[in-house]
Symmetry: C2
């Protein structure tokens, strides 16, 4: 029932253009190979409506149909490859949260 | 085109049960009255996969079809009523980010 989402929340990179180029040309293609992934949605954060700097630059949602498919995905070599790639463009920038759609 | 999302990110409340009761019985019904809102998705944060405490307890996504409908929504009395209600259950807990789906 409740779909499972991995929220990949990235803080501001030093070089936005280099980050986005690597994300779209290398990282997202690796993520899209992860078995069981139902949908990936990439959100660019524009404004902190409470004032001040936004705490994140980008939030990607990776949707899985259920916990079992999420667990299988996390254990896959494709997921390990995507995880390893984080160090190539987003070292220290990433918070990864597991969320359940209510 | 790029859909516009308001991300309402709540940190951990002292009393989870009271927070959730107010959210679902009072706040969300107010939010659902905001004109132009296309969809509301409520995500409970389960785990910080990077280790440590999760930085948020709940993230609600409020989807609008475009910037114009978002601007109209923000200026509406229904939105002011929903905003005012935040003080009743989530004082100091809320970060509100404007996001564009890439």
């Amino acid at each position: 029932m409740a779909s499972v989402k991995l929220l990949a929340m990235y803080t501001q990179p030093e070089d936005e253009a280099a980050f986005l180029k690597h994300y779209h040309e290398v990282h997202l293609p690796l993520v899209l190979k992860v078995p069981g992934l139902a949908k990936a949605v990439v959100n660019r954060i524009e404004t902190n409506l409470m004032g001040g700097a936004a705490p994140y630059f980008m939030i990607a949602e990776l949707h899985f149909p259920d916990q079992a498919s999420f667990d299988t995905a996390m254990a896959s070599p494709e997921n390990r490859a995507a995880g390893k790639d984080i160090g190539n463009f987003a070292k220290g920038l990433l918070t990864l949260l597991l969320a359940l759609e209510a």
